[in-house]
Amino acid sequence: MDLSAINPVLLIASLMVAATPILLAGIGELVTERAGVLNLGVEGMMITGAICGFAAAVITGSPLLGFVAAALGGAMLSLLFAFLTQYALANQVASGLALTLFGLGLSALLGQGYVGIKPPATPRIDIPFLTDLPVVGRILFGHDLMVYFGIALVAAVWAFLRYSRAGLILRAVGESHDAAHALGYKVRRVRVLAIMFGGACAGLGGAYVSLIRVPQWTEGMTAGAGWIALALVVFASWKPWRVLLGAYLFGGVTVLQLNLQAAGLAIPVEYLSMSPYLITILVLVIMSADKSRAPAALGRIFHAAQ
């Protein structure tokens, strides 16, 4: 076993890349759930975003347009969920599961012509002086734009929920849709917008996998990342910064255990493979022992009774 083969600088830099897909999907789902909607279709929206983004990037040659298409694709798919749950008043759990299955099938269909193709490379940001700094430069300044976008999005969502009036209305709708309705707020509109935001974020997360992390297209390539993102939101007690912490923790342990496997640690590979899930859940369970709780109207169907 040779632990010296593990370079801590590279480890931290690569955990940020490994964490970004679930971070993006998780922060989107957080906003959806704070509006009182439980969308279990994150996996389906991610994989749809992955192929939409991949196809658009290949066709246009621009990774940026790929990400835009991924966000649109995820949001479009989430509209189906929004229609089912907000207008047809269907059960949210069942609709979300159906959305995941539908998204997996749809993406396989859309992706038939794209297997084995390489997407255009996403440039890393290279700031001449800063990136060349020892240690810090490689960790903080050598990434692609989406890594920074993910962190900025967490900050923006946090500020939105805490300081803006729209954020207050969104939280109110998630807390009690009946009271919000009585005050004259458009419960459905707020929820549809929140669902679409969640879909767009999940799509971005999916495209990050297919355009940067892997980068190529294979069926079912998100491999359960959507479910991790869902669990992350719950264990993060619906708080944005904790989603960031959880995602980086998960990404970090994932990268570390891969390195440990490569270094030939004398622990069965199966234990190493389950370690990211165990450690992330453990840490977040301990942290969620405070008084925070789920939005009171989470998963409940709003029926606008007159």
Binding site: L168, E175, S176, A182, R293
Partner: protein, 507 residues
């Protein structure tokens, strides 16, 4: 009265829902600075009428004129912008948000949070309703929550303030303070539309009353010059029957509660602290209290939904605190909780199934795990017949019954099982006067037969009507149990916790 004295004029408002006309050509005028009462039974159309004024419901026909200009609010924001504010019967508050955030949500154009907190403090002090803007609403008492709603309205300088059953959650002292606030507002020129079915309150507060029955305006009167009985008969359209009972000496102690301490399982619930009382056969014990002071928890502790140490609850001398609901039911300790849909009855199950759910033990509707559907249906039919439940048949879902009819069914279901002790919470909540009289009479008849009856209620008139002895719950503690006869409203108010820190408006 000239045209300029009229703030809001309503002409021929009509609103129909499938199968029922909620409002049928209702007309009324509200003067500036007037306290106008809107009276009527449940289902008379009071709520629909104020929802139309507040922009939550669009009328089918008819028109409104506010301040001389046509008024047809498309949504509550528009109504608020025109100076109409409303305090809801079921509070429109958010438990997980703080007072300032809740108030900001009800304002069209709220100031910055820090300025808003300052204004909340000023306005609430001015009207004698002190409030801390930073507290979580979920931790406030019912009276304090109402203060939040009222302050939210006052911050917008309303011309018309609509109050839907505002005193149902207040102690008598809190009611007096609220009335002082309302009188101050009305003296400043704000009109108030006051919905209530507490007639004595309307007689002390209101200048004018409009009475609705089955969606139609049936009368107007000046409450000060009309007796409560006359107003009640105008509302019901018939003579009222007051429950009666023959005096009888109480029997042996059936239920004894001994230093009962239980923590509430609900996040914003009330824990029970050192509760001590006993009830004898043939006696009705009335327990008053403002909502959220431990009523639900006490019912759960007596019914067996919440377990305690064995010695804390005894039934006929046997310690049963650690037994669950089924074991207690088998012995004859029955209960009917407050929430009809979802707690007392399963909404989507038929009346037969609902009858079976609590009657299975004492009515012998099961053997070796197999159910006797025929007997269950007979049992449900017997309840429907004896309590005059209006329903097409036993196979209708509980949800399809009106509130009053379902309440008759869930109370009747327990009464028919010959309980040794019966605990009911809010037995006539949302039930019209005639049905309420039937339910109260059934409870009294049951006591005549030797049952110990515990009535938990927020309706003081009801408790005074049925109780032999009386006590009040306040923040999870029980006051001393005293004879109900000759108790004054002031004494009751103090037992319920006095004014909960409210103060009189600084007029």
């Amino acid at each position: 009265m000239t045209e300029t004295d009229i703030l809001l004029s309503i002409r021929g408002l009509t609103k129909a829902y499938p199968g029922v006309v909620a409002n049928d050509g209702v007309s009324l005028d509200i003067l500036r600075g007037e306290v106008h009462a809107l009276l009527g039974e449940n289902g008379a159309g009071k709520s629909t009428l104020v929802k139309m004024i507040y922009g939550l419901v669009k009328p089918d026909s008819g028109e409104m004129v506010l301040n001389g200009a046509p008024f047809a609010p498309a949504e509550p924001q528009a109504a608020r912008a025109s100076g109409v504010a409303m305090v809801f019967q079921h509070f429109s508050l958010f438990d997980a948000l703080n007072v300032a955030e809740n108030i900001a949500l009800g304002m069209a154009d709220p100031p910055k949070m820090r300025d808003l907190a300052q204004r909340i403090r000023e306005v609430s002090e001015q009207y004698g309703l002190p409030l801390d803007p930073d507290r979580l609403v979920g931790n406030l008492s019912a009276g304090e929550r109402q203060r939040v709603e009222i302050v939210r309205c006052l911050l917008q300088d309303p011309k018309l303030l609509i109050m839907d059953e505002p005193t149902s959650v207040l102690t008598p002292q809190e009611v007096e303070i609220l009335f002082a606030t309302l009188r101050k507002l009305s003296a400043e020129g704000t009109s108030i539309l006051y919905i209530s079915h507490k007639l004595e309150e309307i007689r002390t507060l209101c200048d004018e009353a409009t009475i609705l029955r089955l969606g139609k305006k049936v009368a107007t009167c000046v409450p000060r010059d009309t007796t409560a009985r006359d107003m009640a008969e105008l509302m019901v359209g018939a003579e009222l029957h007051v429950p009666e009972r023959a005096g009888k000496l109480p029997g042996p102690v059936r239920l004894a509660v001994n230093r009962l301490n239980i923590a509430s399982p609900a996040q914003f619930g009330t824990s029970l602290k050192d509760i001590d009382f006993e009830v004898r056969g043939g006696e009705v014990l009335g327990l008053a209290g403002v909502a959220g002071n431990g009523q639900d928890e006490l019912l759960a502790a007596l019914s067996g939904e919440m377990l305690s140490s064995a010695e804390m609850v005894s039934f006929d001398g046997r310690e049963i605190g650690n037994l669950g609901p089924t074991a207690r039911r088998r012995m004859g300790l029955l209960s009917a909780p407050e929430e009809r849909l979802g707690h007392a009855a399963a909404p989507d199950m038929s009346l037969t199934e609902n009858a079976l759910l609590t009657g299975v033990e004492r009515e012998g509707l099961e053997r070796h795990g197999f159910l006797y559907w025929g007997k269950a249906r007979d049992f449900a039919e017997a309840i429907i017949k004896r309590f005059d439940v209006r329903t097409p048949g036993t196979e209708n879902a509980a949800r399809s019954l009106s509130g009053g009819n379902l309440q008759k069914f869930v109370i009747g279901r327990e009464v028919m099982q010959r309980p040794g002790v019966l605990v009911v919470n809010q037995p006539t909540w949302g039930v019209d006067a005639a049905a309420a009289a039937v339910i109260r009479q059934a409870l009294l008849d049951l006591a005549e037969g030797g049952t110990a009856v515990i009535v938990i209620s927020q309706d003081l008139d009801e408790l005074m009507e049925v109780s032999d002895r009386f006590a009040a719950l306040n923040e999870g503690r029980l006051s001393t149990v005293v004879p109900a006869k000759g108790l004054s409203v002031e004494q009751i108010g103090l037992m319920m916790g006095g004014a909960h820190g409210m103060e009189v408006a600084h007029v």
